[in-house]
Amino acid sequence: MNAAELQSSLVASFRRLEQEQNHRPWSPHHPLRRRALEAFQQLGFPTTRHEDWKYTSLAPVLRYPYRVELPPLPEPAALGAQLPALHGMPPVQLWLLNGLAHPEQLPAQVRFASFQTAGDSVPVGHILPVDSETFVALNTAFAPDVAVLSWRGHVPELCHVAVVTAPHGEPQLAHPRLSITVEPHARAHLLVGFHTAGQAPCLTNFVAEVSLAEHAQLDLVLWQTDPHDTFLITTIGVELARSARLRVWTVALGGALLRNNLYIRLVGPGADAQLFGATMVTGRQVIDHRTLVEHRVEQCTSNQLYKSVAEQEGTVTFTGRIHVYPGAQKTNAYQSHRALLLSPKATVNARPQLEIYADDVRCTHGATTGALDEDALFYLRSRGIPESRARALLLHAFVHEALELLPEEQLRQRADELIAERAHLPAESLS
């Protein structure tokens, strides 16, 4: 199968699903789905000739005849035990199983809704236009459900959403979708973990639209540590109103090919967005981060710190765009991607992109790619630490910097352990 064949097979699946609805509207968003499908047909799958996909070829992803129809769903209760990546993690409060929402015990101040319960009041496409990009269009066309979470007041408790794609004997394409609202002055802590259960190839095409009202705060952790050779594409759009505050940590360690699109729109003065990424690739893993931070109004701040390590034949790509609109004076925007290239066959691509249309701004970016610091290595060895252990300590320290501000102790520790494991550092040496 190739991209064109997959495209027509998906269009055929869409028609079939429409018919199965027996001419009843397929969710309140049926017209929107149709528009999205048309957009998908027009856009097609991106190739490396597409500027935004210059370094990441989807050819290895698009060669499977994915099924989009929902396979028989596993029991969420049984899944917990089946997913080793959930060990040592907080309990799951909401499952998105092949895109279908299964709420468990959610914190009291977090309201939950979905297609099944809320019908057409579920917002779709308000942050990410349905026809803007292939994978957003595809998700809009096929998402079997939209899980809506809204926070009111200060909720210190972490909310854990597990996105699970569970194939049933054949390649599966899943379209999980979240819609998140944090109401004025509310504070939210959200963990979204991505997993697969089953052996067949999987492509998870995740979309989330996030709206932060005035003075709202969201800490969002994206947990991408799936040990399987799976494919994951995430597109998250966040809009921040006046004085809203967003922090995102992306822990990207697992999967065969991973692409994260993180689009931040600062639309109210005083809004602040902080993006952090910890990435490690090995084998032939490909992890591609794309960020876009739009400073649409004055007096907003943004900061991006991504730390990446590429080993063996792995590839890390970081494309970070900061767009300062006319009139967005007093903008303060910073971006940094720092990478360690540990093998001659590994690749790091870093592209900072700045577009600045205001004159009273502070905007800086930096991208470095290098090897481990030989002086530091020698210093550690000169105290009796074996070279392999010294390297592991330095690697761990390098990546950990991106997670230093992560407030949840449990997550920070678990991430630390996973990073240590990848760096071949025994866990007991973390103290």
Binding site: R383, G384, R389, H396
Partner: protein, 262 residues
Amino acid sequence: MEPILIIRNLRVAIEGREILRGVNLEVRPGEVHAIMGPNGSGKSTLAAVLAGREEYEVLEGTVLFEGKNLLEMEPEERARAGLFLAFQYPVEIPGVTMATFLRTALNEIRKVRGLEPLDPVAFLKLARERMEWVDIDPSFLQRSVNEGFSGGEKKRNEIFQLLLLEPRLAILDETDSGLDIDALKIVASGVNRMRSPERAFVVITHYQRLLNYIIPDFVHVLYDGRIVRSGGKELALELEERGYDWLRPDSEEVILPTVDER
């Protein structure tokens, strides 16, 4: 007593330039040797080669550490065998805490000494005690190695590591540079506390000042890659007074036989 360290005719180059041009030195347990010399004479090169820096090329000569060929050992093996270098420029390592670093190092060294590894609690107890000896706040254990330390704190931190790791032979590479008199006294008292009949020190310094507090048994002058003069502690005072020029190989003054030829 058998020497801990025997250096014979050591010739070392970096980037094709010969820096050490035939160094001879013997150090026995209990002794403190000072190596003095002008800038560029090869003092720090000697320290770096002994600790195992790889960018130096050994052209000729041997170095025996407790009878073993030191030059064939990896830097970490040298440390585990009991060699310690106090760095002239201690390296900052963001993200690695002092506690993690030193507990890992100490346990590696304890392993070869046939001792059980220290758990975090026992380690903290020992570390706090030794930090007090050189007036370092225990909170430094939770800080990244040398990161944001002042010049004096970095040097005291080197001596703290010396106190913790208890080597057989410690080489101090210009530990006095950039220290005020109070810090110098703290560093010296740390070193003096560690002096024992089993342990030896090689103190590399440009100035005589440190040697007022760490009294050496022998003073050697390294000049242009060779030890051109050796004597007792009074040689340091003479150097302080007269500088190094009179020791230039082409100087008219007679070069006396060195202690190495005793």
